[in-house]
């Protein structure tokens, strides 16, 4: 390991470059998925759901608990389903019956839900750090790519994120429920007039974003581990990415997520780890000052923002 370090220090080799790049893409796709969760709810309600990170936590934690009783694929599927139910319950209990609530009011409610969910998490699972086992192989299994060694789980994360983005795209473009949700996103009143039950669409958006959050939580768990308070950090990263990509734009979220992940990964080679967050956020702030609508919040991306 030391040899490798010395070797790579002399030359920023392709292997090292790819190693950093893959780390960046891994974290980037996780951020992107969380950001897409934000976007789905933002599009139907106009609010940022601060409890999004807790969906990821619930997904991972429930899957880990269920693993004792059943094989992994079933545990993950069940965990995603349970988290979707939690998402629906949250919407039905706290959001649905409010009459034209203000944005700030809803945001504070989601902050409250996020705090409550975290407390539920800590009282059920305690403060210990857990993780799902690797889907294939174990911690030291690796696949060589261009000389760099990549854990198969990394490929799982990237593939799962990619699949989710594609599946969501197909869902929103081709199915009638997806089209109704898009209609609700672009103009709620008009959608109501066309006979779409917008309230159900909002519930559905919570279910959907809880589901993809939970799935992300399961896939990433072997690499990043799961803990009751992981949601806050993820929510902040996801929020950053959603804003940077231009709120509501899923293409923007993917691009911004990868950008943030890669900046973070490479910043480790330049500055101490402690400043990693500070550097990436400074860069994002500068981008935001230059382009207040986010990187892809332009007219072009507005076409994608229906998601």
């Amino acid at each position: 390991m030391l040899c490798l370090g010395l070797l790579t220090r002399c030359q920023m080799t392709t292997e090292l470059f790819i190693q950093y790049l893959m780390a960046g893409i891994t974290y980037g796709s996780i951020y992107a998925i969380v950001a897409i969760g934000f976007n789905i709810i933002y599009n139907t309600t106009g609010i940022i759901n601060f409890a999004q990170g807790e969906f990821v936590m619930f997904g991972g934690m429930i899957a880990i608990s269920l693993l004792q009783f059943m094989p992994m694929p079933v545990a993950i599927a069940l965990a995603v389903a349970i988290t979707m139910v939690i998402g629906a319950l949250i919407e039905i209990c706290f959001i649905r019956w409010l009459k034209s609530p203000s944005v700030l009011r809803m945001i504070i409610i989601t902050i409250g839900i996020s705090i409550l969910s975290r407390e539920v998490g800590v009282h059920i699972w305690g403060e210990s750090i857990r993780s799902l086992p690797y889907f294939v192989g174990n911690e030291i299994t690796s696949i060589p790519i261009f000389g760099a060694r990549i854990s198969p789980q990394v490929l799982w994360v990237v593939a799962a994120s990619g699949l989710m983005v594609i599946a969501l795209g197909i869902f929103f473009k081709t199915t009638s429920v997806g089209r109704e949700m898009r209609a609700c996103a672009s103009n709620r009143k008009a959608a109501t007039l066309c006979g779409i039950n917008t309230q159900n669409m909002v519930t559905l958006s919570f279910v959907l974003s809880a589901g993809i959050g939970a799935f992300a939580g399961c896939v990433m768990s072997p690499i990043t581990y799961s803990q009751y308070d992981m949601g806050t950090g993820l929510a902040i990263k996801g929020f950053t990415v959603a804003i940077l990509g231009g709120l509501g734009s899923s293409g923007g979220a993917v691009a911004a997520g990868l950008l943030l992940g890669i900046i973070e990964a490479f910043s480790v080679s330049v500055v101490p780890l402690a400043f990693q967050d500070a550097i990436s956020i400074s860069i994002l702030l500068i981008i935001l000052f230059v382009r207040p609508q986010g990187l892809f919040g332009s007219k072009e991306a507005a076409g994608l923002s229906e998601f």
């Binding site: 940022i48 706290f94 409010l98 609530p101 203000s102 944005v103 700030l104 009011r105 504070i108 409610i109 902050i111 409250g112 839900i113 996020s114 705090i115 409550l116 975290r118 407390e119 539920v120 806050t232 902040i236 929020f239 950053t240 804003i243 709120l247 101490p272 402690a274 400043f275 967050d277 500070a278 956020i281 400074s282 994002l284 702030l285 935001l288 000052f289 207040p292 609508q293 986010g294």
Partner: protein, 358 residues
């Protein structure tokens, strides 16, 4: 003058609490009341920014930390190693330094608290100007994100720099002698004195803000909250008013940070954490956004309950629950509830108090 009169009942309550606690031999409550007062100073500043100027800030714990950390660092890190440099000699001759001894009897030469306080507050104001100019052009969620980012950066810097004590923070911050015989410190003998310093500061802040929002500036701010464009069209210099309010609230936060740090005798990175900022915003919201008195009330009550540890390990859960319940049933803040409802809630709270202590 009218504003001065309107805070008189509050002054009476403050004195009343003191008398009550000394009569019932529960003076230890004053410690938490003092700390709550400092947090509330930040909260009323944030309330004017959010409720009147309509600009959300998720970075106010950052300003609090700038005040607290700078003041703590300047008054604890000894300059004796640099004794012979021109700057230190100059500062010493100006009477800006203070010598003393540390725990082990070694000589210390540190910046005097007054100077440190002024430096800290001015730095916070300066940073607020620099950050505020680009940030306040943003709106809604983008503004929230930018201020949140600022808060995270401050948190990370406090956590990463050895000068600020990394994860341990800074401790053994000396007392802040305001006037001879009047000092901000955590000494038990100074408890009553500090209680009045904190509440005095809060009352002054309250009078200032009440005057502000009832003046031309206040009306301009409310105009901005209603509609940026409309206010602009009426000749209000919107960006300037927004910036001034932002700086004002940052100064309030920094002052609160300086005083609380001296009172606690230390500061840690958790004071700069994102959840602190979120908490402040939430308290302003449950107090009823454009309602200084509501913000003050919630600031005192929620901070006091949490500092007393009334709910034990369920503290955060109860806080979350209070947020949700108030936002669901009283979206315009706690003071918009009618009396009967409020009484009911008070009774409910009284019950849970007892449960917590039992």
């Amino acid at each position: 003058m009218k504003k001065l009169l309107s805070v008189l009942p509050l002054l009476a309550v403050v004195i009343g609490i003191h008398l009550l606690t000394s009569a019932t031999d529960t003076m230890y409550y004053l410690t938490q009341m003092t700390m709550s007062a400092y947090y509330s100073l930040l909260i009323i500043g944030l309330c004017v920014l959010m409720g009147y100027a309509g600009q959300i800030s998720l970075g106010h714990a950052g300003f609090f930390a700038i005040g607290g950390y700078l003041s703590a660092a300047l008054t604890t890190h000894s300059l004796i190693a640099y004794k012979d440099t021109a700057l230190v000699t100059f500062l010493d001759s100006m009477g800006m330094l203070m010598s003393g001894h540390d725990l082990y009897g070694e000589a210390l030469l540190v910046v005097s608290p007054w100077v440190a306080c002024i430096v800290a507050v001015c730095t916070a104001a300066g940073i607020a100007v620099i950050i505020g100019i680009p940030v306040l052009k943003l709106k809604g969620h983008y503004l929230a994100m930018a201020t949140l980012g600022f808060g995270i950066i401050i948190y990370r810097v406090a956590l990463a720099l050895e000068y600020f004590g990394e994860a341990d923070g800074i401790s053994e911050v000396p007392a802040f002698v305001l006037l001879p015989g009047l000092s901000v410190s955590g000494d038990f003998s100074n408890r009553v004195q500090n209680y009045y310093i904190a509440w005095g500061l809060l009352l002054i802040g309250m009078v200032l803000l009440l005057n502000l929002i009832d003046s031309r500036v206040g009306r301009a701010l409310r105009g901005i909250h209603g509609s940026d464009e409309a206010a602009d069209a009426m000749g209000v210099n919107t960006s300037r008013f927004k910036l001034q309010t932002f700086v004002l609230s940052a100064v309030f936060a920094a002052i609160a940070g300086v005083f609380l740090t001296h009172y606690n005798g230390g500061i840690g990175p958790s004071e700069a954490g994102v959840m602190k900022s979120v908490r402040y915003v939430a308290i302003v919201a449950v107090g009823g956004m454009a309602h200084l008195w509501g913000a003050l009330l919630m600031g005192i009550v929620l901070n006091f309950l949490s500092l007393r540890g009334v709910f034990g390990s369920y503290d955060d859960a109860v806080f979350g629950l209070i947020l949700i319940v108030i936002m669901l049933f009283a979206p315009n803040g706690i003071l918009s509830l009618n009396i009967r409802y409020r009484l009911k809630q008070l009774l409910g709270r009284g019950k849970s108090d007892k449960e917590g202590e039992a």
